[in-house]
Symmetry: C2
Subunit: 299 residues, 2 copies
Amino acid sequence: MHDRYPTRLHEAAPMMRRPDPVVWGSVDGPFTADEIHDYSAKGFHIEDGLLTPAQVQECWTEFDRLTGDPDVEASGAVVRESNGDAVRSIFAVHRHSPVIDALARTPRILDRARQILGSEVYIHQSRINAMPGMVGTGFGWHSDFETWHAEDGLPTPRALSVSIALTDNFAFNGGLMLMPGAHRTFVPCVGRTPDDNFRESLQRQRVGVPDDDTVFELGYEHGIEQFTGAAGSALFFDSNSMHGSSNNITPYSRANVFLVFNSVHNAPTAPFAAARHRPTYIADLDTTPLTPLPHTVFA
Amino acid sequence: MHDRYPTRLHEAAPMMRRPDPVVWGSVDGPFTADEIHDYSAKGFHIEDGLLTPAQVQECWTEFDRLTGDPDVEASGAVVRESNGDAVRSIFAVHRHSPVIDALARTPRILDRARQILGSEVYIHQSRINAMPGMVGTGFGWHSDFETWHAEDGLPTPRALSVSIALTDNFAFNGGLMLMPGAHRTFVPCVGRTPDDNFRESLQRQRVGVPDDDTVFELGYEHGIEQFTGAAGSALFFDSNSMHGSSNNITPYSRANVFLVFNSVHNAPTAPFAAARHRPTYIADLDTTPLTPLPHTVFA
């Protein structure tokens, strides 16, 4: 397959205009025409109050349970902060938890993903990120798609993430920052992918990130917006959004459920710039379409 | 002199209610009665548009000049980021720069300081902090007064800081966070002051900072507010305010002029918990009252 998004290169290459669309079809769904237009232009959409407080609590309870589950720990899906024992992320939560599986299949989430991607979808990756108070470290600027293409074999950015706030996301506790409009630009990155890169990159990414000059250029062209909102708010964002987060020195933890939806027409091939696929708890290879599950605690 | 604010102790001691006032007198000035009441309750006041864009530019030009001035460099007043050569702070800018001297003596700044401190005032410390884009690291939670008492010999918190934004202070580029009301609580800190502690503490403070449990307790009692505003905005804050800042991964630098006003009735004595005074470019010992300078670029 011809690689239209070459990355992990020997030497720097210019940024390129993304050849693929952002909104992929004309599937009806919960987004209004204006919301679809904004999503296409900015690369993201914030939906306040997607979950009720009781539904947020269900997810929290599940996160607590998963944190203490020895099977989850043994699967390798628990990532800790580099500066201590605090849990940074738990992966594959849709596999380990019927509650998170039901969340992903809630029509007001699933149907939004289908609407933007213009097809049936499945979950490429899911996780709960718990940026603990005082010790949480951020994520530098990056495009998720760059990694999913290089290391997981997704041919195109026909994928999106939903980040659902389980705690209040303030401006000052490490809330996600995005560059609106930068999702239209693909940034080829320099550097070969090390074997088992994911072991380091999930704590701190060094390969597959844009250089500082590129961040300056995109930041001054596009500006920055931040995802803030009460617990239960949700951010839908394009897989090629340029985003990052600061560290969290406040006492307020910032926890979010991440669900990554990929189009069934964008099934993973061999990785474009890595020796082998990442473990399935990071990059699922089962592309069976998700079916709605309307009668749950989330409906 | 009896030490009413014991700190740098051998073992942990409980937080204490501050025995001294926040607003010290009934000197008239630019603050309204409501603003004085709020300052007393929260420990800070934000004044939008204190400087015009042209006045901000004067300060920038002066910062550029000072950065390249070999005499300033030789004086030791230039502090760099620990992770590179970027300038983090230049101290004693009121001594090195007629422009910053004039700024400090502008009636709408000087008279506010006198009004809150209830007396004539002088400059205990001044600096320009330039948190550079991408590489700027924050300041952990701390009270300035704790250090000024322990290392500079200020007997009481009869002092305040003015932070004037030279760049737009967004929520996401390392803007100062404060815990409103926590200025009423003095947090004794554990640990003896190392000799020449300032050499490290100006990059990253390790002694004279509250422990994590205390930050949690104060953070949940008082909440957090952030100083954001366009260039030219100013934050007046009590010397015992609990404050800190995150790192800055955005491309937008955050530069501020800091002016610390101390009451002439609060002149420094011997340090309360250090072997000797810090250099005068960090802690001025000349307590001559500042006189207004009304007819300048800032008037």
